[in-house]
C-alpha cells in the first residue's frame, strides 16, 4: 500500500524545531514517522550509512569506556571496525523484510529512516555505559541486574512499537503486516547477533546451551 494513501497531507505533523528526528521518534514515534513519510526521500551512500555509523560509533565509545575507563584511540578504532556487524545485520535484515522499496523511496532513505527509530536502543546503551563507567565492577554488576535488566524489558517493548511505526508509516504495511515485519526482523537480527556474539558453533545444541546459560546465570542466587 502506498504511504500517501494512508497519510493525508493535512495530517502531517510539524517537526519540532529543537530536537532531532531520532529524539522525536523516541518520544512520539507515530508522529515522527508520519512526518518522515511525507518528506522527499533522498539517496546516496552517506544517507544510507550515517545513522548506522553513529550506532557503531556509540558501541565503540561504549566499549572503550567500559574496558579502559576512557575514550582511547587504540580501542575505539579497532572495536568500531568489527562491531559494525550489528548495524550491518540490522540493515540487511531490513532489506530482507521490506523486500520492495517502499513508495518510491530509495534503499538509502529506507535504511536511514529505519535507523531514526534506533534512538531508544542508542539512548539505553549510552545510559548503561554512563552508569557502568562511573561505578566499581561489583556495583556495576548489581546495577545491571537490578536496574538495567528490568529497563531492558521496557526498551525491548518500546523499541518494538517504534519499529512497528516505521513499518506502518514508512514501508506502508497494514497493522498486522507491520507487527509481522517487526517480529521477523527481530528474529533475524537477534539470532544472528547472538550467534556471532555468544555461540561457539552454529549448531542448535550450542545455541540452546548458551540460552540456558543466560537463564541459569540470572537465576543464580
Amino acid at each position: 500500500m502506498d504511504q500517501l494513501a494512508i497519510l493525508d497531507s493535512a495530517t502531517v505533523p510539524t517537526r519540532p524545531a529543537f530536537w532531532s528526528l531520532d529524539a522525536w521518534a523516541i518520544c512520539r514515534p507515530k508522529r515522527a514517522f508520519q512526518f518522515i513519510a511525507a518528506q522527499p526521500a533522498g539517496g546516496g551512500l552517506w544517507l544510507a550509512i550515517r545513522r548506522p555509523l553513529f550506532v557503531t560509533f556509540v558501541l565503540g565509545c561504549g566499549i572503550s569506556l567500559l574496558t579502559t575507563g576512557v575514550l582511547t584511540l587504540r580501542v575505539l578504532l579497532s572495536v568500531t571496525t568489527y562491531w559494525t556487524f550489528v548495524p550491518a545485520i540490522e540493515a540487511v535484515a531490513l532489506v530482507a523484510v521490506v523486500r520492495r522499496k517502499p513508495g518510491g523511496a530509495t534503499w538509502a532513505a529506507t535504511i536511514d529512516r529505519f535507523f531514526v527509530g534506533h534512538g531508544t536502543w542508542t539512548l539505553f546503551l549510552i545510559l548503561l555505559v554512563g552508569s557502568l563507567a562511573f561505578t566499581p565492577p561489583h556495583v556495576g554488576w548489581r546495577l545491571l541486574l537490578t536496574t538495567w535488566l528490568p529497563m531492558l524489558g521496557v526498551v525491548i517493548g518500546w523499541s518494538a512499537y517504534v519499529d512497528f511505526c516505521f513499518f506502518r508509516w514508512i514501508s506502508g504495511a497494514s497493522s498486522g503486516g507491520a507487527v509481522a515485519r517487526v517480529l521477523v526482523h527481530r528474529v533475524l537480527v537477534w539470532i544472528t547477533v547472538f550467534i556471532i556474539f555468544a555461540v561457539p558453533d552454529a549448531s542448535p545444541a550450542a545455541f540452546a546451551a548458551e540460552l540456558r546459560e543466560i537463564f541459569e546465570e540470572l537465576a543464580r542466587p
Binding site: 529543537f18 530536537w19 532531532s20 528526528l21 531520532d22 529524539a23 550515517r50 545513522r51 553513529f54 560509533f57 556509540v58 565509545c61 566499549i63 572503550s64 569506556l65 567500559l66 574496558t67 579502559t68 575507563g69 576512557v70 575514550l71 582511547t72 584511540l73 587504540r74 580501542v75 575505539l76 579497532s78 572495536v79 568489527y82 562491531w83 536511514d112 534512538g119 542508542t122 539512548l123 549510552i126 555505559v129 554512563g130 557502568l132 563507567a133 562511573f134 566499581p136 565492577p137 561489583h138 556495576g140 554488576w141 550467534i195 556471532i196 556474539f197 555468544a198 555461540v199 561457539p200 558453533d201 550450542a206 546451551a209 548458551e210 546459560e213 543464580r220
Partner: protein, 288 residues
C-alpha cells in the same frame, strides 16, 4: 559545517586526546627471583566473537599489556581458535605470553583447559575432561567452583584437577561466595588461581595469579601450575605456595590488593563525561 558541529567535533577530539594520553600501560613486574621467573597471569579470559566478549583477541592482547600482565590464557567457550589468533598476534608484540585454552562449558560445571590444542567436548564428566586436558598436555582448573558444582567433582576428579579459582571479581564483595571458593580449594591439593573471567568490560587482570616459572615459556608456566608454584592475593590474604609468598614479601612495588579500573584524574573524568555529552548531543540534537 555548522557551529554546533564544530563544537561537538572539538569536544570529541579533546575527549579522545585526554583519554588516549591518560591511557598509560602499567609496567610489568616480571622479574627473576629465587631462581624463578615471577610472572603475572590471568588464566580466564574471553574474546570476541562467539564467547560473550566485546574485545577481539588482538585487542585483548594489547589490553593485557596495558594491565601489566605477562601471561594470558584465552579461554573461549567451546573453541580454541581465538587463543590461536591471540597467540599469533602476541608474537608480533612480544608480550604477553599467550596460552591457548578453552572454558569447557558443561551442563554441571565449567572448567579452564589451558595449554590445549583441540576443543574438548562439553559432554564429558569432570574426570574424563581432566584426562583429555592432560592428554593434550594442558592443565585443568576448576572455573568458579561454587557450591552448586561441587558434587560433579568426584574423588578421581579432585585427585587429578590441577588448580581451582580461589579469587574472582564477584567474590571480592560477597563473603558467601568467597567462602565457597575457599572451601572448594581446601577439598584437595590444588594450585591457587586468581582470575578475572574477563568478558570485555571491567578490568582485565582484576584478579590475577603470580606464577613462578623455571622458564619464561608456556611449558614453564604450565609446569609451575602443576607443581603449585603460584601466589594469589585477596585483599588482606595470600594463597599459594608459602615459600613463594615469602619470596614475594620483599618486593615493595607489588600490588597486594585487587587492582581497580582507574576512575580518578581530571583527564580521565573529562574523557568520560565529554564522550557521553557528545553522544547524547548527537542523538538528541542532530539535524540529519
Amino acid at each position: 559545517m555548522s557551529g554546533r558541529a564544530w563544537t561537538l567535533s572539538t569536544v570529541l577530539v579533546a575527549a579522545l586526546a585526554a583519554g588516549t594520553i591518560s591511557d598509560v600501560p602499567k609496567p610489568s613486574i616480571a622479574r627473576e627471583i629465587g631462581g624463578y621467573h615471577m610472572l603475572a597471569a590471568d588464566f580466564h579470559v574471553h574474546g570476541f566473537p562467539f564467547t560473550w566478549s566485546t574485545l577481539s583477541p588482538w585487542d585483548t592482547v594489547i589490553e593485557a599489556r596495558y594491565q601489566g600482565l605477562d601471561v594470558l590464557t584465552m579461554t573461549p567457550h567451546q573453541h580454541v581458535w581465538a587463543g590461536k589468533v591471540g597467540r599469533w598476534f602476541s608474537q608480533s608484540v612480544d608480550r604477553p605470553l599467550i596460552i591457548v585454552g578453552q572454558e569447557i562449558v558443561a551442563r554441571q560445571y565449567h572448567m579452564i583447559a589451558a595449554g590445549i590444542t583441540q576443543t574438548i567436548p562439553r559432554t564429558l564428566s569432570t574426570a574424563r575432561a581432566i584426562e583429555e586436558v592432560h592428554r593434550q598436555g594442558g592443565i585443568a582448573i576448576a572455573a568458579h567452583p561454587y557450591g552448586d558444582t561441587w558434587r560433579v567433582y568426584d574423588a578421581e576428579a579432585m585427585r587429578t584437577l590441577d588448580g581451582a579459582e580461589i579469587v574472582r571479581p564477584e567474590a571480592q564483595h560477597d563473603e558467601r561466595m568467597a567462602s565457597q571458593l575457599r572451601e572448594f580449594f581446601s577439598r584437595g591439593s590444588l594450585t591457587a588461581i586468581g582470575s578475572s573471567d574477563y568478558h570485555g568490560f571491567g578490568l582485565l587482570g582484576y584478579c590475577r595469579t603470580y606464577v613462578f616459572a623455571r622458564t619464561r615459556t608456556e611449558q614453564g608456566v604450565l609446569d609451575a601450575v602443576r607443581e603449585g608454584r603460584t601466589v594469589v592475593f585477596d585483599r588482606d590474604r595470600a594463597y599459594g605456595d608459602p615459600a613463594m609468598i615469602q619470596l614475594m614479601s620483599g618486593i615493595p612495588e607489588l600490588p597486594r590488593d585487587i587492582p581497580q579500573l582507574p576512575v580518578r584524574g581530571a583527564a580521565r573524568l573529562f574523557s568520560r563525561l565529554a564522550t557521553l555529552f557528545v553522544l547524547v548531543t548527537i542523538l538528541f540534537f542532530n539535524r540529519w
